[in-house]
Subunit: 281 residues, 2 copies
DNA sequence: CCGAATGTCA
DNA sequence: TGACATTCGG
């Protein structure tokens, strides 16, 4: 028996809005410690990792570990049928190949339940090593989203460079080039408006803006975002989910070919894992 | 001479928005008692009945009964030229084959008039018998609209079942099934937020969601909607128009074929009228 | 959190 | 051209 009750149902709605652009099908892995999900985008360049800890739910029961495959678009459709202030409960019997989404209005005068078939999804679960990052930047998530959106109207890729002074986003396209620098500022009224930089060494990496813009769909989940970078490692873009966990996006950097001097396509993620993360371990 | 003056012109705008998706051409029947309209949708499955009583107008003059055929889309186009706070006056000479729409701004500093040709429309006016309904549910119109919209992302048809406990909307589609139950609740702050059920006998009928969603275009006309059902009778979905009348939508239920066990297409409305309403009389 | 307006897709 | 979805503003 699986039974998860989440009073703040809007959280789950936001989580699905955050990942549905990137992921088509994914396994929701449920255990006594919570719910997690790990999935690559269709081109295997970006990876999403979601964690919702058991203690973030008002009620959490998971008798046995289960990996429940779902079509993300269908889950998203169902969750759109929930109001933002609905209480959401997920239920699945141990031997069932369906899951039930239950939406209760705050006054309990409307109760909706949706039953959805589960799918078998081949699990290409990657062990993500805990890496040491040369630079970790925390900044307002809205600002980051705005920057990625703005830059993508100029170019396709962004060079993110971190120095002690700040984080710089640069792009270049047909109509010209752009640089946006955010300085470290901790002397701000609210902590969520501050930009902080923890840096061991300056880093500069290049990414496809298309993916960055997909990541920013998670903006409603958190007022801040954390960007962790090391040379040749995938960047980690993390949105904390209050009291529950996080959603992390990993994106392989575009590698500059030394001989040719131009930028190669992204390495596929699994390639990067074996080739790059191997020496990071 | 026909002359109708309506200070709250937005009402007329909303009425046309409510019916234009369903009806292409219709006769506006004017008599000393008011304006009424009855029209079927193109597939003859749904019927719209509108009543605007004479005393809801600030000025009402109708010297002789007239049935004025109009293309609903064209009327809608004209009315979009009126601001929401405009005063609307309709005028037609007795021997004229045109009607004039006049829009006055509240301060009388702008006056627009539009003349439109009337059409001859063959009148298949149906006498709608007053029926006794097994169940009458009043609920917030927004909630009803939301439910119909949500369910139509899952399936094509809805089963509406009324019991003493509440009204249940169910559907089923490729990705799964859904049930939404609204309990009777009269203990709510505002009467327009309450859901009330008058039931003589439990009823359960199946309808095409496509039409239900068209009906909910009338939501701006009233904060509540009334759903009246009896076995094998068309459902009546009614939106009251404050101080003036109503707009009612009738929809034939889909009939389950006992022999075959599957759901037939909707009966055409005229068929239903003769076959089903005949014994209701 | 809801309603309106805009932009996109069919 | 109309309907739907998404986005912005109150």
């Amino acid at each position: 028996m699986l039974e998860l009750r989440l009073v703040q149902g809007s959280l789950l709605k936001k989580v699905l809005e955050a990942i549905k652009e990137l992921v088509t099908d994914a396994n929701f892995d449920c255990s006594s410690s919570g719910v997690s999900l790990q999935a690559m985008d269709s081109s295997h360049v970006a990876l999403v990792a979601l964690l919702l800890r058991y203690d973030g739910f008002e009620h959490f029961r998971c008798d046995r570990n289960r990996s429940m495959g779902m079509n993300i678009n269908n889950v998203s459709k169902l969750l759109r049928c929930a109001a933002n202030d609905d209480i959401i409960t997920l239920k699945a019997d141990d031997d069932s190949d369906t899951i039930t989404f239950m939406f209760e209005s705050p006054k309990q005068d409307k109760i909706a339940d949706f039953e959805m078939k589960l799918m078998d999804i081949q699990n290409d679960h990657l062990g993500i090593p805990e890496a040491e990052y040369q630079a970790i930047v925390k900044m307002p998530s809205l600002e980051f989203a705005r920057i990625c959106k703005d830059l993508s109207s100029i170019g396709d890729t962004v060079v993110i460079s971190v120095t002690k002074e700040g984080i710089k986003f640069s792009t270049r396209g047909d109509i010209g080039s752009a640089n946006i620098v955010c300085r470290q500022n901790t002397t701000v009224d609210k902590p969520e408006d501050s930009t902080t930089i923890e840096m061991k060494e300056p880093v500069s990496l290049t990414f496809a803006l298309r993916y960055m813009n997909s990541f920013t769909k998670a903006t409603p989940l958190s007022s801040t975002v954390t960007i962790s970078m090391s040379s040749d490692l995938p960047v980690v873009v993390e949105y904390k989910i209050a009291e529950m966990g996080y959603i992390r996006f990993y994106l392989a950097p575009k590698i500059e070919d030394d001989d040719e001097g131009y930028i190669l396509e992204e390495k596929s993620f699994s390639f990067l894992l074996t080739q790059v993360w191997s020496f990071a371990r």
